[in-house]
């Protein structure tokens, strides 16, 4: 198992290098001149040239590329064009907030989603199923910016129980994590239900029931483990997406996370920040996939990777 994980981790490096090369050329091919954008509307041509030299954008493309790759290999992602701060600081400032909000949202939504899914599957076509799935469909179809604003209007402006924006205390996490998690909980509920319904028709469930295992144990032990495989896959994907920073939720709740950083960076053609963020996101996805693969083995030893 350890050797397997180690091998997979080594495999990450070439993937990241390919991503780095692709993202470099991709952002440099975007239309728009970062020097002009950074210099602003009131700058004349001479000032734009000064800014261009300051940012190192006057160098030929291959030199810029060598500088970028050389920096990445040493863990140096350069300085932001917009703020001139080291990119690593810009990301380090925001990453914890995105991570914590993602964990808070994933935490409750996975538990609730699983519970709703199981209850719905066990009581298929009866009222708990109908109610659970109605909730899930509303969770998926309610746009998150609307849900966020609704929550702010009711709980912050109307009742005054919770703060509107900021990320200082646990109370600040409630509304954004509800908004962010609603969609995830809904997806989890539907996935769990579908997977569970299928598993409940398997022969081994019939066998378990036939030999007199209590229904409660049939559901939680025999069925749950086997139903979890697709659910864990989905969970990993959702986790990866949320870690990229939800642009909408971060905007509505003014959350100081990675999503807003990326939007600002794209708007200003802030090459170094875009490159570093894309690299970070790919790395997160690769690692999450690895964790999901390892979890498969834990849940079902018969599909352990060799």
């Amino acid at each position: 198992m350890i050797a397997y994980i180690f091998k997979r981790l080594l495999g990450v490096l070439p993937t990241l290098l390919i991503v780095a090369v692709l993202v470099f050329f991709f952002v440099h091919l975007l239309p728009g001149d970062p020097a002009r954008l950074a210099a602003g509307a009131e700058a004349d041509e001479q000032t734009v040239e000064l800014v261009r030299r300051d940012l190192g954008l006057d160098q030929p493309m291959h030199k810029q590329f060598m500088r970028f790759i050389g920096g990445v290999l040493q863990g140096d992602f350069g300085h932001s064009i917009r703020t001139k701060r080291p990119v690593i600081d810009e990301i380090a400032d925001r990453f914890p907030y995105t991570l914590k909000l993602t964990l808070a949202a994933m935490g409750w939504s996975v538990v609730i989603g699983l519970a709703i899914g199981i209850v719905a599957a066990v009581n298929r076509n009866r009222w708990p199923d109908r109610l659970g799935m109605a909730l899930a469909v509303s969770g998926i179809s309610f746009p998150s910016f609307a849900l966020g604003l609704l929550l702010i209007t009711v709980f912050a402006v109307g009742l005054g129980w919770l703060p509107t924006v900021g990320a200082e205390s646990w109370r600040h996490y409630i509304l954004p994590s509800l908004t962010l998690g609603a969609g995830v909980a809904a997806v989890m509920a539907r996935f769990t239900r579908a997977s569970f319904v299928e598993v409940l028709h398997e022969d081994y469930i019939r066998t378990a029931r036939a030999k007199g295992v209590p229904e409660r144990q049939v559901v939680l032990k025999h069925a749950l483990r086997n139903a979890l495989i697709p659910v864990v896959t989905m969970m990993g994907l959702q986790f990866g997406f949320l870690l990229g920073g939800s642009i909408v939720v971060e905007k509505v709740f003014n959350w100081p996370g990675l999503g807003r950083l990326l939007v600002d960076a794209v708007e200003m053609r802030d090459y170094p920040v875009i490159q570093a963020e894309v690299l970070l996101f790919s790395m997160q996805f690769i690692l999450i996939n690895l964790v999901v693969d390892v979890l498969y083995g834990v849940i079902n030893p018969t599909i352990r990777y060799k």
Partner: protein, 512 residues
Amino acid sequence: MKLAFARRTLLALALTCVAAPAFAQGKTAVFAIENTLASLDPYDTNITLDLSVCKSFYQGLYSFDKDLKVVPELALSHEVSKDGLAYTFKLRRGAKFHDGSDFNAAAVKVVFDRVTNPENKLKRFNLFSNIDSTTVVDDATVRVKLKRPFSAFINQLAHPSAVMISPAALAKHGKQIGLNPVGTGPFKFVEWKQPDYVRVARNDKYWKPGLPKIDGIVWRPVTDSNTRTAMLQAGEAHFTAPVPFEQAENLAKNPKLDMISGPGIFAQYLSMNTRVKPFDDVRVRHAINYAINKPALAKVVYSGFATPAEGPVPMGVDFATQVGRYDHNPAKARELLKAAGYPTGFATELWASNNSTAQKATQFLQQQLAQVGIKVRITLLETGQRVQQLENVQNPAEAGVRLYFAGWSSSTGEADWALRPLFATEAQPPRLQNFAYYSNPALDDLLQQALNTSDRDAKASAYRSAQELVHKDAPWAFLVTRKVAYAKAKGLTGIYQMPDNSFQFENVELQP
């Protein structure tokens, strides 16, 4: 480095779990602003909002009062030599920087020498490129020599980027001065927690006695306008600007809040590429001016927070002249088009930035122009695209722009910066923003004349003629001037949003 990153992340995690800075301690006012800040070095940013925040801790030799009149701040008076080239300033004594060092003539020299040196590659280089040299005469007297006469120089010094930075801090922090600002202003810089807030605290040794009257300010960037107004309603912010027009009515009804709107100097215009057919014909340009119902535009798109333009330069800018309007008259527009050889109109392109106001405005303009037979195709440009297709076009003959909907505000509050960057021949892209590719030697002469003389009457007359000329030639359809709109808690007094969108808050007071 990777390890350091991980460690820092962990540290940040640990810190944020423990520390929870409370915002409304003592008399600290929270101002919710619309964008994240890029830099706190006024010489290395061109964003009005950055400059407004910098006004908490920085001051210039001159500044604007709330009606955009120039008043002395760290300077006491000035004298201009006969040739208009040398400006001698008497400086205020007793003003101190926050690091304890004295403000004096040497500081002025250090600050101006820094921005005029191209090696420092500062974004405000062009605003100060007219300075030839700065000399210290004595401790409280400084002389600035210009490369050519520039009569708007005092206005230029009142610009919020022309502020005094502590030379000691500049020596210590170098390029990092934007993260460690040290000025003479009413508040001291405390911390900039990106992207969450900038916190400033009262400067106890401020040179104006009795000020400031509150303990500090927290500048909080909140990009979503609905969220900003929600913060104000929930009492988490005391002031917010700009207020989205759609919400103004709702906020005005709130008994705990004041909704205020005042005159602005932000001109909204439609430029026409005068180099190409059919816009090379002044009759076509007049027709377009007559075809647009400006009061309706102000009402429909800006919910009344705008007034029809009275000429190329908005009222409130120094030397602005009320030169007249092209009142809505579709019949006359059709006549002019017919005379110009377009009896059935023509088809053309309209560009604008991609935001919701521009979207609404361009649709409105499209409908208005359709009524006189001009078929308009709208393209909304993303910023990078705009730079590529508009601002960075090297050869005027290759410019693809036809009609362009945009806005401009004269950041020096003076007619020069409201006319030259937009209408002078030298201001065509890629240099500045003459997207109409308008070129009229008579106008170029008038603008130069006005800059060469420091006699106020002569300047006023040159600028009046210049504005009349632009109005007559109509390289733009002159649309509306936007008003400023802001909201604040009733307990907060002494704060204004000025016509140029910056804030005045030195006298701000806060009652619970």
